[in-house]
C-alpha cells in the first residue's frame, strides 16, 4: 500500500511537470527580502512566446465565489518549495510554510471583433479563452497587474506588479497605479472606468483579517473557497484533493467533509447560499469580528448569524453620507430601503462598499444581494 501511494505521487509529479514544464524558464526563485523590480525575477508566471506561462510546480486554482474586481478575470497560482506543505484548516486561511508564493494575475479578455488597443477590454463572464492549464494566450487578453503574496519568515508580504504596454513584463508598482480603461460589453455598450491597482499599504486593507495584529493573510486559500473542481491539464479534480496529491496541502479531509461556499452564479444553488458566499468573499475580510470594519458592528463573513449582526434592522454606525437616506443596513423584504445594496451600487469613494478594489458597479452582484434581501421575512418595528 505505501509503495502504491508512493508510485502514485511520483506519477502525479511527472504529470504536473509534463503539463507545466517550460524549457528555458529558470526555476521559481523565492526572494526572502526586498522588492524585486520585475515580476520575472520570481519566475512564477512569465510572458513567453505569446503566452503567459506557469513555471514548474506552479499550480493554478479558482474560488467558488471570487471577489469582484471591475469584471477582471483572474489567474491564481500557488507555489511552494520542495518538502514543505500548508496545513489544512476548516475555517481559516491554511497555514502556509515560509517560501510560499501566491500569485494573482488580473486580466481582461479583449473585446470580440476589435483590434487590440491600449484601453478597450471585454466585460464578459465568458472564460473560454482564459487559462486552461496550457497558458494564457496573450493574443486574446489584456494583462493589467499581477499581485504576489509571499510568505516570508516575518510573515506575508504583498507585492504588486503592473504589466507594461507591450505585455512582456510586469514592473514593481509599490505605490499602485490608476489606468483609464473601457469595458466593452458583447452588445457594444461601453463604460469608461479607472482601474485602480492598490498600493502596498492598501493591500493590507483587505489582507489584514485582524486589524490589531495587522498580520497579512491570503484570503482565497480557505477550505470553503477551494472546495471545488478545477479543469487541470490532466483532467478535472477537486482543488483540495489536487493540492494534497501534489504535496502542497496536508490534513485535508475528503471534499465532502470540507466546508464549501456556493458559486454565486450557480442558479441551482439556494439563493441564501449564493448571497452569503458573495458577501463572505467581497465583504468578510473587513466585516468580521477582528477586521478593519469591526468598528461598525456589521459582520458579513460566512459564520455570521442572520440577525442584527449581518445587518437586519441594524442602524448604521458611521456610514455618514453612505446611508443614502436609509435607516437600516438591511430592511428585510425591502432592498431599496436598505443601506447595504445602496453602498454596493455606488462608485463614490466616500460611499461605496467595498471601499477599495473596484471603480464600477457589479450589476449582477447587486442584483443577487437585492434578491436575497427581498426574500427575507419580517420587518423593522421602531419603538418610541
Amino acid at each position: 500500500m505505501p509503495m502504491k501511494m508512493w508510485m502514485r505521487g511520483l506519477m502525479l509529479l511527472a504529470l504536473v511537470c509534463l503539463t507545466a514544464c517550460h524549457r528555458g524558464m529558470d526555476p521559481v526563485t523565492f526572494h526572502d527580502d526586498g522588492y524585486p523590480p520585475k515580476l520575472g525575477d520570481w519566475h512564477v508566471v512569465e510572458a513567453r512566446d505569446g503566452t503567459l506561462q506557469l513555471n514548474n510546480g506552479v499550480v493554478p486554482y479558482e474560488l467558488n465565489t471570487p471577489l469582484f474586481t471591475d469584471y477582471a478575470h483572474k489567474l491564481r497560482t500557488i507555489w511552494m518549495p520542495k518538502g514543505v506543505s500548508a496545513k489544512y484548516n476548516p475555517t481559516e486561511t491554511f497555514d502556509f510554510p515560509v517560501g510560499t508564493i501566491i500569485s494573482k494575475t488580473f486580466f481582461y479578455p479583449l473585446p470580440k471583433g476589435e483590434a487590440r488597443n491600449a484601453t478597450d477590454v471585454a466585460r464578459t463572464y465568458d472564460t473560454s479563452r482564459d487559462f486552461a492549464g496550457q497558458g494564457l494566450n496573450l493574443n486574446n487578453v489584456h494583462l493589467v497587474e499581477t499581485r504576489l503574496l509571499v510568505r516570508r519568515k516575518e510573515g506575508w508580504v504583498a507585492i504588486p506588479y503592473v504589466w507594461n504596454a507591450d505585455q512582456t513584463e510586469a514592473i514593481l508598482a509599490r505605490t499602485g497605479d490608476v489606468q483609464a480603461l473601457t469595458l466593452v460589453s458583447d452588445n457594444g455598450q461601453r463604460e469608461n472606468f479607472n482601474y485602480v491597482v492598490p498600493d502596498q499599504s492598501q493591500c493590507v486593507s483587505c489582507h489584514a483579517h485582524d486589524w490589531t495584529t495587522r498580520a497579512l493573510q491570503p484570503i482565497g486559500p480557505k477550505a470553503r473557497h477551494l472546495n471545488r473542481d478545477y479543469h487541470y491539464p490532466d483532467g478535472d479534480e477537486n482543488e483540495l484533493t489536487y493540492l494534497t496529491q501534489v504535496g502542497y496541502l496536508t490534513g485535508a479531509p475528503a471534499p465532502t467533509d470540507a466546508p464549501r461556499n456556493a458559486n454565486w452564479m450557480d442558479q441551482k444553488a439556494p439563493l441564501d447560499a449564493r448571497a452569503r458566499a458573495y458577501l463572505d468573499i467581497n465583504c468578510g475580510h473587513c466585516h468580521n469580528p477582528k477586521g478593519a470594519a469591526n468598528t461598525t458592528g456589521l459582520t458579513l463573513d460566512i459564520n455570521t448569524p442572520e440577525d442584527r449582526h449581518i445587518g437586519f434592522c441594524k442602524p448604521p454606525t458611521a456610514a455618514g453620507q453612505g446611508t443614502g437616506d436609509h435607516m437600516f443596513d438591511i430592511v428585510p423584504g425591502h432592498p431599496d430601503d436598505s443601506i447595504l445594496p445602496y453602498r454596493l451600487s455606488s462608485t463614490e469613494p466616500g460611499t461605496m462598499m467595498p471601499e477599495i478594489g473596484r471603480s464600477t458597479v457589479h450589476q449582477e452582484g447587486v442584483a443577487l444581494i437585492k434578491a436575497w434581501i427581498a426574500a427575507q421575512p419580517g420587518d423593522c418595528v421602531v419603538l418610541h
Binding site: G176, V178, N192, P315, P316, G320, M327, I356, S359, H384
Partner: protein
C-alpha cells in the same frame, strides 16, 4: 464634422455616466503623490515625514500602517493636501498604527472621511485643519478628524469645517483629550461616541447643527461613559441639519448646543453656551433617534442617559426657535408663540427598571444646577404631558477625575 461632434458628445456622455473621471493632476502633483505614498510605505518607527509648504492635489487616498511615525506640515494654512477630484478613497489618510502624530497641515475636500485612525494607541493630532471648501453639503465627507478604537488620544489646536457628519469624532476609544479646537459648519461639531474617559475643553463649536455631542450607539465594542465637557464656547449652532437620513447625527435638531444621547456619567460645566435655537443642552435617549428596534439593536444596549451632571455653565439666549414640527409644537404648547425653551431639554425617557418612587438611583440621575429651567418633553407619551418641574433634577453627582494622557504626548 457634425457627425464627429455628435460622436464626441456621446462619448463624453457615456464617460460621464455613474463614475468618477480621472482627476486632472499636474506632473508636479503626480510625483508629489507617489513620493508621499512611498514615504508612507517606507516609514520606520521614529520616521518624520515632513511635507513642505504648498498646495498639493491628490487623487488617491493615503494610508499608513507603521508605528511611531510623525507626519508634519509647515502649518495648517501652508501645507494643504487637497483631495478635490479624488478617484480612490475611502479616506484622505487612513492610519492603522500606534504612536502616531500628525501636525501642522490641512486636508481638504476628501470624498469620504478626511483623517481616520482605526485602531492605535498614543495618537496625537495637533494643528490640523480639515475643510470642505464648498461649505456645508450632504455630499461632503462624513468625518473630519476620526480616531476610532484608539487609546490615549489627543486632538488639539485643530480646525474642522463642513463635515456632513461630525467634524471631530472620537469613537470607541479610551482616554481622550480634545482641546483648543474649532469646529464650524459641521452637522456635529465635536462628537464623543462609545468612548470612555474623555475630556473636551477650551474648544469653540459654532455654526454647526449641534455643537458638542456625547453619544452611545448600540451594537458596538464598548458602551461609553465618563466624559467631561467643560470651558468650551458653544455658540449659535443653528445650521440646518445636512446629514443623510440614517446617520446618527441626522436626528440632531438644528440649534442644539450640547447634546447627550444614551451616554452615562457625563459632566457639563463651565461652558459658555449661547444662542442655540432649539436648546442649549439636550439630554436624550436612543428612543428619540427613531432607530430603536428590538431586531436590530443588541439586547444589552442601554438607551438611557444615566448620571448626567450639569453645573456652572454660562448660558445665554437660545430655545426660541426649535427645529422640527414636534419640538415647535411642544414649545408653543408650553411657552406660547413668543416663549422659549429653558436651558435644558430632556426627552423624558428613564429606565423603568430603575425607578424608585419615580426617580432613578442617586448615581443615575440627571442633576441640573445653574440653569434657568428644564422641560421634560414626555417623549414616551408622544409629548402629551410635558413638565417643567425642576425638583427631580435638584441633585449633585460625584465629579469625574481629569483625564491624564499617559504617556504624555510630545508636541
Amino acid at each position: 464634422m457634425r457627425k464627429t461632434t455628435t460622436l464626441i458628445a456621446a462619448a463624453l456622455l457615456l464617460a460621464g455616466c455613474g463614475h468618477q473621471e480621472a482627476a486632472q493632476q499636474s506632473q508636479t502633483d503626480q510625483s508629489f503623490e507617489s513620493k508621499l505614498e512611498q514615504q508612507l510605505l517606507d516609514a520606520k518607527p521614529g520616521s518624520v515625514i515632513d511635507i513642505p509648504a504648498g498646495h498639493y492635489s491628490l487623487k488617491r487616498g493615503l494610508s499608513l500602517r507603521t508605528d511611531g511615525v510623525t507626519i508634519r506640515g509647515a502649518g495648517m494654512d501652508k501645507t494643504v493636501l487637497s483631495f478635490k477630484g479624488q478617484v480612490v478613497g475611502p479616506e484622505g489618510l487612513l492610519v492603522n498604527a500606534n504612536d502616531f502624530t500628525i501636525e501642522n497641515l490641512a486636508i481638504e475636500d476628501t470624498m469620504g472621511d478626511a483623517l481616520k485612525i482605526n485602531q492605535g494607541k498614543n495618537i496625537t493630532i495637533h494643528g490640523v485643519r480639515v475643510e470642505w471648501t464648498g461649505g456645508p453639503s450632504s455630499t461632503n465627507g462624513a468625518y473630519g478628524l476620526y480616531p476610532v478604537k484608539t487609546q490615549n488620544t489627543l486632538i488639539e489646536d485643530s480646525v474642522v469645517i463642513g463635515a456632513s457628519d461630525a467634524g471631530i469624532y472620537v469613537g470607541q476609544s479610551n482616554n481622550i483629550v480634545v482641546r483648543r479646537n474649532r469646529a464650524e459648519q459641521n452637522v456635529a461639531g465635536i462628537e464623543i461616541e462609545n468612548s470612555v474617559n474623555a475630556d473636551v475643553y477650551d474648544n469653540t463649536a459654532t455654526k454647526n447643527t449641534g455643537g458638542i455631542l456625547v453619544f452611545n450607539m448600540p451594537n458596538l465594542s464598548q458602551a461609553g461613559h465618563a466624559s467631561r465637557v467643560f470651558h468650551n464656547k458653544v455658540v449659535a449652532n443653528n445650521t440646518a441639519n445636512f446629514a443623510k437620513k440614517g446617520a446618527a447625527v441626522a436626528s440632531v435638531p438644528a440649534g442644539s448646543g450640547v447634546v447627550i444621547n444614551s451616554n452615562d456619567k457625563v459632566e457639563i460645566f463651565d461652558n459658555d453656551i449661547s444662542d442655540s435655537q432649539t436648546a442649549s443642552i439636550i439630554i436624550s435617549s436612543y428612543f428619540s433617534t427613531n432607530y430603536y428596534n428590538t431586531r436590530g439593536v443588541a439586547a444589552d444596549y442601554n438607551p438611557y442617559p444615566k448620571g448626567i451632571f450639569v453645573y456652572g455653565n454660562r448660558i445665554t439666549g437660545g430655545g426660541d426657535s426649535p427645529d422640527g414640527l414636534k419640538l415647535k409644537t411642544l414649545k408653543t404648547a408650553v411657552y406660547g408663540l413668543s416663549g422659549k425653551f429653558p436651558d435644558v431639554l430632556w426627552d423624558g425617557y428613564a429606565d423603568p427598571k430603575d425607578l424608585v418612587n419615580g426617580l432613578p438611583p442617586a448615581d443615575d440621575r440627571i442633576c441640573l444646577q445653574d440653569v434657568n429651567g428644564v422641560i421634560n418633553a414626555d417623549g414616551p407619551n408622544e409629548y402629551k404631558n410635558p413638565s417643567t418641574d425642576m425638583k427631580p433634577f435638584q441633585c449633585t453627582l460625584p465629579k469625574l477625575p481629569p483625564v491624564v494622557l499617559n504617556p504624555e504626548p510630545k508636541v
